[in-house]
């Protein structure tokens, strides 16, 4: 479909872009910067309201933006994740005062980039969207003024990220050479020819370097703890869910769109990487005393669990991945809201500042307990639903060993989650002043709690939506 005909379908994204520019230029006219943030939220909500799913999958802009149910699902996910991040940033104590409108504007651009990632079925668009999201992330990580940790984290993120993207690009160029086209469908058709299996596999491995970096899959996870620790906490919250979820979206598109006939070759590779990821994440998390690093390693391990659904690669497996991503998004964002509330009060992310939270801020402590239990996979929370489906898909596909390893890993993870809960309830606090979070943090907390509990008790509607998306 040509560009002019595609515009009616693209209106939500155009609104998002105009909103991003408006937020940026509002800095000249508006003195209360929080209003700018709230405007950003309004734009995100308006975009979500305008988003429509057409009856047939449409290949907009000559095939560069695929509008189907998969994209529609991730549109809402991206807008929601960025929305919650902006909501929590509104009351982040260390926000640089002079650059707030640039911050909100960059997040709106980021939302646009995330939607592009989900809609990309062409190697050029995948690269463009992934780089867009990555480069804006490097900038957002380095946003704190005069904080060497933030700049170092940004530098580390940039170096790892650029290297991973460059390696992925080399793999893409080989794929382009073997098949003559950048479209995933044409690539699949051409790769099925004889003689290309070796090349297909090695280019897949190179592409996995880049995508594995985005989803913090081992052995490309090493940037995550330092970057998550150094970044401003709302940005950390965003990074643990946003690029990860969309990275999985791109991974599913690439694997299902071009490499499904090579499944027997790459399934064992992803199998090993999944086990490696969850084990490394969980084992190293045990020793952490900083809540941001602990949640960072925890999120690495969660990527390992999600990869089980990819190893299974059945309809159940891919549905499990999608539902796990939503459950994980609600849970992790909620946990970080509590982290921001505590760090606003104590300027510290060490576990000691959480002692006695049960007495000082009972609602915050209870919420964090719920989120940690959800991450551990306990019913009746959202994390249980995600884990249940991922385990089921692995067992159905016959991968019993990976399910066993994942179960053992979940037990190990429960140990460090309970360590935090114990710190909150059983360790006495140094002082007894109450902590009261601000309105926007409280609102974000409520939304995430509702999502985590509702998804755990009533997963039906979401499951219904997801079963329309897969089979792709």
């Amino acid at each position: 479909m040509s560009a002019i005909d595609s515009i009616p379908f693209f209106i939500p994204e155009i609104l998002l872009l105009i909103g991003a520019f408006a937020v940026l230029f509002a800095d000249f006219f508006v003195t209360n910067k929080k209003l700018i943030g709230i405007t950003g939220l309004v734009i995100l909500v308006a975009t979500a309201c305008l988003a429509r799913l057409p009856a047939e999958p449409q290949a907009l802009f000559s095939g560069f933006f695929q509008l189907d149910a998969f994209t529609h699902f991730f549109r809402y996910a991206a807008l929601g994740i960025v929305g919650v991040t902006i909501l929590t940033s509104l009351s982040y104590a260390r926000m640089p005062k002079a650059y707030q409108s640039e911050y909100y504007s960059l997040f709106l651009f980021m939302a646009f980039g995330l939607i592009l990632m989900s809609a990309a079925t062409n190697l050029l668009m995948i690269f463009l969207a992934v780089e867009f999201v990555s480069i804006v992330s490097y900038l957002l990580v380095g946003f704190l003024k005069d904080d060497p940790g933030s700049k170092e984290a940004s530098a580390k993120y940039l170096l790892f990220g650029s290297l991973a993207s460059a390696i992925m690009l080399f793999g893409m160029s080989l794929l382009f050479g073997a098949t003559g086209s950048l479209d995933l469908d044409v690539i699949r058709a051409q790769l099925a020819g004889s003689g290309f299996a070796d090349l297909g596999l090695i280019s897949l491995m190179l592409i996995l370097v880049g995508l594995g970096f985005k989803i913090s899959m081992a052995p490309f996870h090493m940037w995550a703890p330092d970057v998550y620790q150094g970044a401003p906490t709302p940005v950390t919250a965003f990074l643990t869910v946003g690029p990860k979820a969309l990275g999985f979206a791109v991974l599913i598109r690439v694997l299902a769109g071009s490499f499904d006939h090579l499944y027997s070759h790459w399934s064992s590779l992803i199998f090993v990487l999944s086990i490696l990821t969850m084990t490394i994440g969980n084992v190293v998390a045990i020793a952490q005393n900083n809540i941001k690093r602990l949640l960072a390693y925890s999120s690495i391990a969660q990527a390992g669990y999600i990869l089980m659904g990819i190893v299974a690669f059945s309809d159940t497996g891919l549905r499990a991945v999608l539902i796990y991503l939503i459950a994980y998004a609600f849970t992790n964002l909620g946990a970080f809201v509590v982290v921001i509330a505590v760090s606003n009060r104590f300027q510290s992310d060490e576990l000691e500042s959480y002692s006695g939270l049960g007495r000082r801020a009972p609602l915050l402590a209870a919420s964090l307990t719920i989120f940690l239990l959800s991450l551990a996979g306990m019913p009746p929370f959202a994390g249980f639903i995600g884990k249940f489906y991922v385990f089921t898909s692995a067992l159905e596909a016959g991968f019993v060993s990976i399910a066993v390893v994942a179960a053992l890993n979940s037990a190990v993870a429960a140990y460090y989650y309970f360590r935090v809960i114990r710190q909150m309830y059983l360790v006495p606090a140094s002082d007894e002043d109450p902590i009261s979070p601000s309105f926007s943090l409280a609102l974000a907390l409520c939304l995430m709690l509702i999502g985590t509990i509702a998804l755990g008790i009533f997963p039906g509607p979401l499951l219904g939506f997801i079963s329309q998306i897969v089979p792709l």
Binding site: S62, K97, G113, E131, D198
Partner: protein
């Protein structure tokens, strides 16, 4: 004609060799400024490769943007962050040997696969002519979405880079 072709081939192989030598220099030299100059050599050599592959407009773009803008940026950054007298600090860490072995192993593996793959070379691709105006037409019709998006990317990156690199405003200017 065959002599000319042979001389052209010899020239291109010589250029490839020079580019690879400059690349090795760019990753091993101790003085960072010399590395940057070696990188400029690599970039110009790659522009020459584009000329050898009949991508003339791309060669011009490579020189304008890479050698013109990106090299200037890199040299600026080197000037601003180095004390130029400190040229004898070790530039490579302890993993040099492991890195070299790993890279060599990778080249052998990938090279073997690339040599054996039956690349579907198409006659019409080899003999087609593709001018700058065809390029412009493609960019404006088929590739218009990536084109607009790269404009947005560059804008967002510009804003963000200014915020990250900027010196803080003096105290009185805070709102």
């Amino acid at each position: 004609m065959t002599e000319l072709t042979f001389i052209a081939q010899l020239g291109i192989y010589a250029m490839m060799f020079v580019v690879l030598a400059a690349a090795v220099a760019a990753v091993t030299l101790r003085n960072l400024f010399h590395c940057a100059l070696a990188l400029a050599g690599v970039l110009i050599g790659v522009a020459g490769m584009y000329l050898a592959m009949h991508a003339e407009f791309l060669a011009m773009v490579q020189i304008l943007i890479y050698v013109g803008a990106v090299m200037t940026l890199i040299i600026f950054a080197i000037m601003l962050t180095q004390r130029l007298g400190a040229g004898d600090v070790a530039q490579n860490n302890k993993q040099s040997l492991f890195g070299a072995v790993a890279a060599a192993g990778f080249v052998v593996t990938l090279g073997g696969i690339l040599w054996k793959t039956p690349w579907p070379v198409k006659e019409e691709a080899v003999t087609s002519s593709f001018s700058a105006s065809d390029l412009g037409e493609s960019l404006m019709t088929t590739y218009v979405l990536p084109f607009e998006i790269i404009a947005i990317v560059l804008f967002a990156v510009l804003i963000g880079a200014i915020v990250v690199a900027r010196k803080d405003a003096p105290k009185g200017a805070e709102q």
